[in-house]
Assembly symmetry: D2
Homo-oligomer: 496 residues x 4
């Protein structure tokens, strides 16, 4: 009970949206490896706030630090960075999924192999992770944590290939799903993206040294230059030579498939200043608002963004509709970290802990609320109420993405399908009634495709991953039927 | 050295603006005293993030909890709230000024008097605090902390008046400066505002119980009704009677003066959704942008707010000028708490730790940056550089308040006068050159007055407190010449 | 309930004996003031383990650090000592009495006076502390904590004397009770002992610099030389002159009384290697055992000390009786710090958490257990049971001090009178039956006097303070009737 | 430098003796599994104070908690015990060896096998641990920590045997060295001792439920009955059946060897109240003192034990020699936990932080200091100096064990051979001169054998493990030549 209540509160405070699970960053050959990685992870903090880890290699020894909490709370501290000397570094920032919150689940993971140490970090999810884990346990492998990354580590350790990079490729070729993965050895930085490129991964360069990261914003913060996206199915192996020069080797998949980036990167996950798949995320979001204004116009006095996700779309909506854009909802930036299990009295204030209505812009007005997406609808309900309490004459909701019907298996934390608003009510009107709005409209799937990529959806060969809207999963789902067994293996509760 | 460097970083991360020192909240007669106070302080968190304290009285005993950090990090925790039972409660949230950061400086302060206990909390500053402190020490008073609030406590303890409320009035009538003050005894909640009402203080009501707080946003979060502003020079004494009823008694100053609210509440301090002195802060800020667009127009492609303070003014500027409003600067919400003493490498990234340029909206454009105010100019310099690095063709700065020349003595933390940009350069052009912009303009003092109150400044009887712009201090400054002696008395360094 | 249960456990773990409240240490003129003070307090740790504080003066500024816990847990840390530069230093270590455990109660206390700062620390208790506190509050004094030391500070602050040392003397001459007190100003170190010298205080010297401390063991640890005991009623004022030389001025009481040191210092409090009042504590304790063997002989196989207090007396008993001395009870040195509120199951193991029977020395034997004192008898009961469970044929208890009937008011933490074993049972046999021993005998008051001072008790002019045994209080007890009011004033519960 | 200095200090504070690495405890079938385990580990705390871990199984799930620090600091807390429900439980307490101090090295270790979970804890050391680790890494095993216990876990996971107990036996039969090991599965508690029984392990019983622990003192604390020692080379498998009954199955080694318990258990490690190999440890130690008095008599006034290890031997020495036994050295029980890196000034006080001379028993006397063993001699040097400073006329050292020449490889933390006093000086007289004593004598190896077991050493078939004195290692030392390679594999520095 308690748990579920406070989870409802967190939904409200987080805006009842979906969550990405991770961000990754790596650099090879730069003397400030850990500092650059810390800065990169800080820029990727929106992809995961639970914990962060960094591994470095200084020519003699690997160093690893893992911390619960924000990158900026720990990795800017001189004492922490002093423990991470080295010119090869990879880092990982992690979203707080339900279940075990333990340092041993924090990436990167490290293994000492016969051929030397290797550290691995990834963003995404394997659709055959459980299947592989079972196979490995049957073969005598010992797992320390519940992360699928450990599966990859075991496959590397058991690979019969000679070199660490060949072992890495051998391992990931056995995995299915959506992932962007970084690995490092004593001389190499390796980047890999899944066969259809569901999760993003870009390559950059600073002072001639290669960098890989989830989004371009992690290049911008350190003043690094964007080179190109890692291609879907590609493995890039950078190696520092004894003379300090760096070789870069790209291995492509044997039978390349077309890229299908996850649409939710554009809808919500990626930072607006990032360029994903060559497209400005901010521009894509503004286009969603513009298309939404065309698809679902409404006669109103003011366009109000639901902070923060809805802001670019609201601006697009306002510009396209000619209705003034105003901050009708003010966000409290000082939401503390211990709202996890507040008292019942505190919990009752729900969404007001983070948002408040700006009465001067609401009272007596017909308000269009623009949000990026609706998952459960629980927060929308509270926000509509808050806007009405502030004196709005009408409240219209416009959502800059389609209705969500299906769970994700590629690294997005989705609630159970029956908790999704779209699955709880059979009609748009019923949803609108539940939320208490005067009208409710979603952007069409084609409207979204055009906002992001310019063209409508090609049903035969969709340009993007979009199963949460359409049910069209881009890969098979090997573990899916046996998902319930996951817990059966994770029998150990521990703080260790 | 180190200290000054990291202070520069903090200026950048905080936006190089001025800082208020406190927020206060009090409630009488409500069974959830501490919970309401915690929520109210959470809504007032923008007025001070260093520490917060709450005192309650439960009919038998006073309870006090003080914590470093955010309200939401501590006071939503059931264990903490359980230590604060009671139906009378006052709370205080405090800004981190330089010098001692110690729990013993955190308000409210408490004293056991012959007539019973009393707790006091205040926002503002006394201009004769040091003078009174010296007088009291000469008379055998012992001070535990460096806060001026303790001076008031001693005056109350030494007052010859019979009741706690008369003692309180006796005490504050001896103090000069700008303050909004709350006090509580075993039966009373007392609110007081300085003779000209420099700092704000409003009265509200929830379930028929009186509430006092710095801004209306603290009423909104708990669903309380706004009653009226506490008047300048007024003391309101609310007392709970044995039958549970509450009497409210107002004492006005003998020779009332006109109110002169601090203009910086409108320019930067107050939350945009608050109503201060009967005026919407958000609307005032938009008006500043509108007036600024009229006073200092510029031919440009895009209006970009400097987050977060400049946003409403930027919106006003855009609406008045017809130039599109775009988010050209993206704010990183996840700035950690340990940036205080980062490594030199981290420090070098300065403003980029918090802000990044949204290249898609900047590249090739003529950009108007709208900011709320400029204090030292150090951050403006970095932001202009960041915008230029992102490819802007021109960068024009428009500041929605006048130039700051003079220090404050009423509760605003101002840098030394010679650190103020306006005092470092003799001409607007020199400032513009320093910052590296193509043009730089400030809102006029009349433009600001009109934006807030409708009328231009009445030089004979200014409607607001505005000395930081004009040098016209609204009270005498008794301690001012001897400011350097403050440290002489604060001889004790301690963590206790 | 819970509270009382865990308090019973703590009695068992601490050996159900009385507890001293404090130890003090001060040094003037030595560059390593804080280090010497930390070492001295470490040697005095047996006098109080709850918290410790140190104040230093470095020529410009006072520095104060206070910490909960052991001296060696905090004050050996370079970071802590670095915050305490200075050549004048006083320190205090404090026993955990019931009630508030808060840093603000930790001594030394400091006040900024008109004539400069002063810090005060004391061991002992005032019998008119409450009376004076009430008088001061009526006169407008503000108290921050519940310690009587603050009363002295207020009296100093309000004194009309010109110098800090005269103010100090003025203040303590108004106080009654048993105390050893240290004070320091910007140039002085002042030591004072109550009119009859109930609590000990010695003067030593290191490198020609004066040192004062509760016991000689604090001189031994730093290699300082013992000079003499501070006399009862004496105030010694040491002052450092501008040329670095030190003047020492002694002020005696006008009408000197004979010294009456507290007997419990010899029975239990002082460390066995200390010399108190010119007498070796260890030798006194051995003598107690020797006298006990003569007064209450028993036919037995083995003499077993109840650790740790009973060990010297047991050795004396064994040597005098010729019965072999053996370690029949083994002490677990690793009793953790969180036994305060253990689970009911853990609590049930009581005394076994700290002590275990050494079966090889017990089984089949007639055992004499020698303990230093019996307060409630609750631990004795458990120990007898433990010894019987280990197979003892007979268990005889010999206590190296008389029965305790009366509470203390001079700094010893005594339980309520009706909790004392001697007041719960009307006969020695009844006590013996309760405890479950085969015989139980206490040392006579004369036997104790002879063990410590050589002569029997002079009933007309007792040589020592001994009211807990005899009811003969050496001073009037002004606060005593109103003790229950103490809590009425301490109305504030706080962690601040 | 710093490191080595503070390590010298720790030697002094710990008495410059050898250290055991661990204690283990396990119970099957009792509802209070974790509570009993916590109590048992508390009684075994002398075997390791760095960290402790407990694993339980509650019928559905395994639970694991690990904590740095003392058992009594964590595991008596209701919140911690509440996380450890279950009727099968094993626990481990660990000595702080040099190198990584990390939770991931704290035992028990757990692995999820195909046949279900297994947890393992052990006391001792494998002489082929590194060899096996290399073999396993070559075969694709991933190691998370540096503990050899993980090697056993991998061997269990990879075993082809059907049941968990057969897999366990399969695994330990591949290991060489000295160990006492506990394992638990969902139904079993398994105990094993190495082929010659170097480390102790006893079996007890409480309420009919089997218990295994390192020493009998862990049975005594919970009131459990001692059943028998686990035999050398024996594996005992206890299994709880579906009806709650417990089966006990003993597997003996195929070719049993004679037991050779480690003599240091008698000399120093085991608690004096424990019975090891059927012999009272306290009696053995007293016998060492008695034999020492016969072998190396001295004309003196007082016998003083070096606390705490030397006390029983000193008592034996005093009884045999007729010289009075006195506490000439007082131990400070309050040595804090942060002496690890004290300031140079604090460090200079060395042994005085823990010990002080009791001048009254020393001054003008001829003193015999009795110690249990001498390793480096660094502390002895300081103690002799301290005794001389207290005025001793003569200082004679008598050591209740032979000289230590050789390192251990069975779980005792020994310094490098060239740091051992016996290897630094070629003659007894040279050692005596170094230490500064008037005479120095060690117990003979035969004297030690007779004190413990009654008979002299049988050179052909020594009754005990005694290589540190004799160089006669009881097993081959497979890893020994490659010891330096250990660090090469442990390339990862981490706090994770």
């Amino acid at each position: 009970m308690n748990q579920s209540h406070s989870s409802t509160l967190n939904d409200e405070l987080d805006g009842d949206t979906l969550h990405e699970e991770c961000g990754v960053f790596g650099v090879l050959g730069h003397p400030d490896g850990a500092t650059l990685t810390a800065l990169g992870l800080h820029a990727l903090q929106h992809r995961g706030q639970e914990a962060a880890g960094i591994v470095t290699f200084d020519g003699k020894q690997f160093h690893m630090e893992k911390r619960m909490g924000l990158v900026g709370d720990h990795y800017t501290d001189p004492a922490t960075l002093a423990k991470l000397p080295g010119f090869i570094s990879i880092g990982h920032t992690r979203y707080s999924t339900t279940g075990e919150v333990a340092l041993r689940n924090v990436q990167p993971l490290f293994a000492e192999l016969e051929v030397g140490g290797i550290a691995v970090a990834h963003n995404g999810n394997f659709t055959n992770g459980l299947t592989m884990r079972r196979m490995l346990i049957a073969d005598g492998a010992i797992f320390q944590a519940t992360s699928d990354t450990e599966v990859v580590l075991h496959l590397i350790a058991r690979s019969k290939q000679a070199t660490s990079s060949d072992r890495f490729i051998d391992a990931i070729r056995q995995m299915e799903g959506g992932y962007s993965m970084l690995a490092m050895t004593r001389t190499k930085l390796i980047a890999a993206r899944d066969p259809i490129g569901i999760r993003p991964l870009v390559m950059g360069e600073l002072d001639g040294k290669p960098i890989f990261c989830s989004e371009t914003c992690a290049l911008d913060i350190i003043g690094a230059k964007y080179i190109r996206d890692v291609e879907n199915g590609e493995v890039i192996i950078c190696e520092i030579q004894s003379d300090g020069s760096i070789t870069i080797d790209s291995r492509k998949a044997d039978q390349p498939k077309p890229e299908r980036l996850c649409l939710f990167e554009y809808v919500y996950f990626a930072r607006p200043d990032s360029v994903v798949g060559g497209r400005s995320v901010y521009t894509a979001r503004k286009n969603m608002g513009i298309n939404l204004a065309k698809e679902a116009p409404v006669d109103a006095d003011v366009v109000v963004p639901v902070p923060d996700g809805g802001t670019p779309a609201a601006l697009g909506f306002a510009q396209a509709s000619g209705i003034p854009f105003e901050y009708g909802i003010i966000r409290n930036h000082y939401v503390g970290r211990t709202f996890i299990e507040p008292t019942q009295q505190i919990r009752a204030f729900g969404v007001k802990l983070k948002h408040s209505a700006n009465r001067a812009m609401i009272e007596g007005k017909r308000v269009v609320l623009v949000d990026d997406s609706i998952v459960r609808g629980t927060t929308s309900l509270k926000i509509v109420q808050m806007i009405r309490d502030a004196g709005a004459r009408e409240v219209h909701i416009r959502v800059a993405s389609p209705m969500i019907y299906f769970p994700d298996f590629y690294g997005i934390d989705t609630p159970d399908a029956d908790k999704l608003l779209a699955n709880q009510y059979s009609s748009l009107q019923a949803m609108c009634d539940y939320i208490g709005a005067d009208s409710l409209e979603f952007l069409s799937i084609d409207g979204l495709y055009r906002a992001v990529g310019g063209a409508s959806r090609d049903a035969a060969n969709p340009q993007f991953t979009d199963h949460y809207f359409t049910g069209d999963y881009p890969t098979r789902l090997l573990d899916n039927d046996s998902t319930s067994n996951v817990r059966k293996l994770a029998v150990m509760a521990s703080n260790g």
